[in-house]
């Protein structure tokens, strides 16, 4: 029984982390139909920015509770700067080109971002603990967890919910859905598609950076940690259905629980369980669990 609750808790915590890492990626794919390989780089930027802002704040002697503010400020900075910059300067030039080219463009941006981090922050690992430890711990079935982990779960649920509401319920969301379904007609009825694309990409960048910022207090950030996150994000959205928010949540939950089960029951499988899940899902249902089948245009 205790093992069950522990696996459930660990799985959900990891799922929350995965969701926060991947939701931006699936959003960008949903609107722009581009797999943004640079997503991992934006995630890393968010984590580094949040960490250094929080560290600075603590050095200046401010109240540690303000570090939570930094976790929200950092992704805004990253999203607002990187989003429009990448979209307008680079991405825009490859809309309509072969998909291979689009993928390679985002891949090259990823390489640049990765080294940019080294140039800006150096190579030593950086970390800040205040946001993580400030809230204290609690006991579940005799095992101690940090309240911050619960915060992550709550934020993931709330944020995911907010995004879904924004897409389904607001005017902007409906406009975005219209653009997703048919770009030309949307343009024909007067929607500024370019603006929608830029906004969506910026939101995606913000989400990526937000994921990084929220996770930063639990880890030590060092150059190169984006590479792993990138592959994880790919796997999660491939499983859940690319372009689908609920899919990202489900994919995150599946991978999170699988990994928790692996760690507690079959530690040897930890390395391969995520790729196995990806292969199994893609082979049975190529578009992912909630993905839509692509219509071929003649």
């Amino acid at each position: 029984m205790r093992q069950l609750t522990t696996i459930a808790m660990d799985g959900t915590v990891f799922a929350a982390i995965l969701f926060l890492i991947s939701v931006g990626l699936t959003l960008v794919f949903g609107v722009l139909r581009i797999l943004n390989v640079a997503h991992g780089g934006l995630y890393a930027f968010g984590a580094f920015t949040a960490t250094t802002l929080a560290m600075r704040l603590l050095d200046l002697g401010a109240n540690p509770y303000f570090t939570y503010l930094m976790l929200l400020v950092a992704p805004v900075i990253v999203g607002v700067i990187a989003g429009p910059l990448i979209e307008r300067v680079f991405l825009q030039r490859v809309y309509g080109r072969a998909e291979a080219i689009q993928l390679l463009l985002t891949f090259s941006i990823f390489l640049i971002l990765d080294d940019l981090i080294k140039l800006i922050w150096g190579t030593k690992p950086l970390f800040v603990s205040a946001p993580y430890t400030l809230l204290g711990e609690f006991s579940l079935s005799g095992i101690r967890y940090s309240w911050y982990q619960v915060v992550l779960i709550a934020v993931a649920i709330l944020f995911g919910g907010a995004l879904v509401w924004a897409v389904r319920g607001t005017r902007i969301g409906k406009i975005a859905v219209s653009v997703i379904n048919d770009r030309e007609i949307s343009q024909a009825i007067g929607i500024n598609v370019n603006r929608v694309y830029m906004g969506s990409f910026t939101l995606g960048a913000f989400c990526a950076a937000l994921g990084g910022a929220l996770i930063a207090p639990t880890i030590a950030v060092a150059p190169g940690f984006a590479v792993d996150a990138t592959v994880l994000a790919f796997a999660v959205i491939a499983i859940g259905g690319m372009g689908n928010l609920e899919g990202a949540a489900l994919g995150a939950l599946i991978v999170g629980l699988l990994r928790a089960m692996a760690v507690h029951l079959f530690p040897e499988a930890d390395l391969v369980v995520i790729y196995l899940a990806m292969i199994v899902v893609l082979v049975i249902r190529p578009q992912g669990l909630f993905g839509q089948v692509e219509l071929r245009r003649i």
Binding site: P125, T218, I219, A220, V263, P267, D270
Partner: protein
């Protein structure tokens, strides 16, 4: 009268100038007299370590030490008058890149010797190339026992203990501070380093105390960065002792995530590479954790710098130049360079004062004992050097702002390294208390 004073004045001036000239040029004369016959203009040493990627923590330490020690030598006149030039190369990129770089160092830069290599994969890949190109190669950190245990080496030397020593040393220390240990668990990264280290620790523990039970063996991705599930598992299993070889950012994350949840209170955790990160962890590192600078015979506070001039020079020099106290990667780099120099000097002496060929240096290196800040090291005939190891428990030190080692224990080389010709697993199976 003027006719005689002018020459006298001139003579005095000339004498003074001449004396000054003699004094000022004397050291150069002395140096050039000591310069071995046939010596090159400079000794080119290639240094290969990680300048990028997660292992940059090792590479930065290595590069810092290399530059500091070479600058020091050059200021003092070089190795018997021959200045040393460093050519620094990044170890990142995998074997095909590293083999290319090694060939470039040897054939294009024409270095006389190559020092370095932290990654086990790299050092195993370049060893055959070093042998093929006949380049003296001094491996400073790479830990795989396979480098020196699997095939005979002619041009490759390793100047520090390999990874079996870390595990055996930790096992011995665990038993000395917690002789009633009943359960152990491992949390290591799933690659050769983690696997070999855990296997050796487990085997040593089981050999030295056969009734010990293993309650969990956890494997993570290299530098996984997310360990909550593993920590939960350890909290559930509640082993007496946890063994881990996590390093750099992964280690810091593990401690960050584990300490608040009580992992370090529930279990005695033994970390073989953690000494490197103590200065970064500062208050994050709990007290009472077993920490070692791998199996290295000292750290920046032991032997006491106040009583040991070589240690004092090293610690103060590194701190002054880089703002950090030297940790084990610094020291192992020092070991390598010091050994290289000692080998060259012995070869020069053995050759009657002329500059040695590579084969003379390799011959001189075998059986050589040389001095380092932490004590002496001896190079064995199988090209594996052995030395002792230090381990202790962390205790926050307000003077430094980070934990230093308490209840230290030192182990002799024979206690933690297998003898020549015996493979580590076989030796561990026969380990004596």
């Amino acid at each position: 009268m003027r006719r005689f004073t002018l020459p006298l004045g001139l003579l005095c001036c000339l004498l003074t100038v001449g004396a000054l000239a003699f004094i000022l040029t004397a050291p150069a004369q002395v140096a050039s007299q000591a310069r071995p016959a046939g010596a090159p203009a400079e000794l080119k040493v290639g240094f290969v370590d990680f300048l990028s990627g997660p292992a940059v923590l090792f590479g930065a330490s290595g590069k810092n030490t290399a530059e500091w020690i070479v600058d020091k030598w050059n200021k003092e006149g070089g190795i018997r008058g021959v200045k040393v030039k460093l050519v620094i190369v990044d170890e990142a990129g995998g074997p095909d890149k590293q083999v290319t770089e090694f060939r470039r160092l040897a054939l294009d830069e024409k270095v006389d010797t190559v020092v370095g290599f932290t990654s086990s994969a790299t050092c195993l890949a370049i060893a055959p190339v070093a042998e093929e190109l006949k380049v003296l190669t001094v491996v400073h950190i790479c830990g795989t026992r396979r480098l020196t245990e699997e095939r005979p080496l002619k041009y490759v030397f390793r100047t520090s203990n390999h990874q079996a020593a870390d595990s055996v040393m930790l096992a011995r220390y665990v038993l000395s501070v917690k002789p009633d240990v009943k359960t152990i668990a491992g949390a290591n990264e799933d690659y050769a380093w983690g696997r070999d280290s855990w296997d050796d620790f487990k085997a040593s523990m089981l050999r030295l105390k056969p009734d010990v039970k293993v309650t969990a063996e956890l494997w993570t991705k290299i530098q996984a960065g997310e360990y909550s599930a593993e920590i939960s598992k350890l909290l559930v299993a509640k082993p007496d002792v946890v063994h881990s070889t996590f390093w750099a950012a992964g280690l810091i994350t593990f401690i960050k995530q584990g300490a608040p949840r009580g992992l370090f209170k529930d279990s005695l955790v033994a970390l073989s590479v953690a000494e490197q990160s103590l200065q970064d962890l500062k208050k994050e590192m709990p007290d009472g954790v077993i920490v070692a600078p791998r199996a290295t015979p000292g750290y920046f506070l032991y032997p006491d710098p106040a009583k040991n001039p070589l240690q004092k020079e090293f610690v103060e020099g590194i701190k002054a130049r880089y703002g950090r106290y030297p940790e084990y990667a610094y020291h192992r780099t020092y070991q390598a360079f010091a050994g290289l120099r000692a080998a060259y000097e012995k070869a020069i002496d053995q050759g009657g004062g002329k500059w040695p060929k590579t084969e003379d240096v390799t011959k001189a290196f075998e059986g050589l004992t040389w001095q380092t800040p932490y004590g002496t090291i001896t190079m064995r005939a199988d090209h594996q050097a052995v030395h002792g190891g230090l381990v202790g428990l962390t205790k926050f030190n307000p003077q430094y702002g980070f934990p230093t080692l308490d209840r230290m224990a030192t182990f002799q080389a024979e206690e933690i390294m297998p003898p020549v010709g015996v493979k580590s697993p076989d030796w561990i199976a026969q380990l004596k208390k």
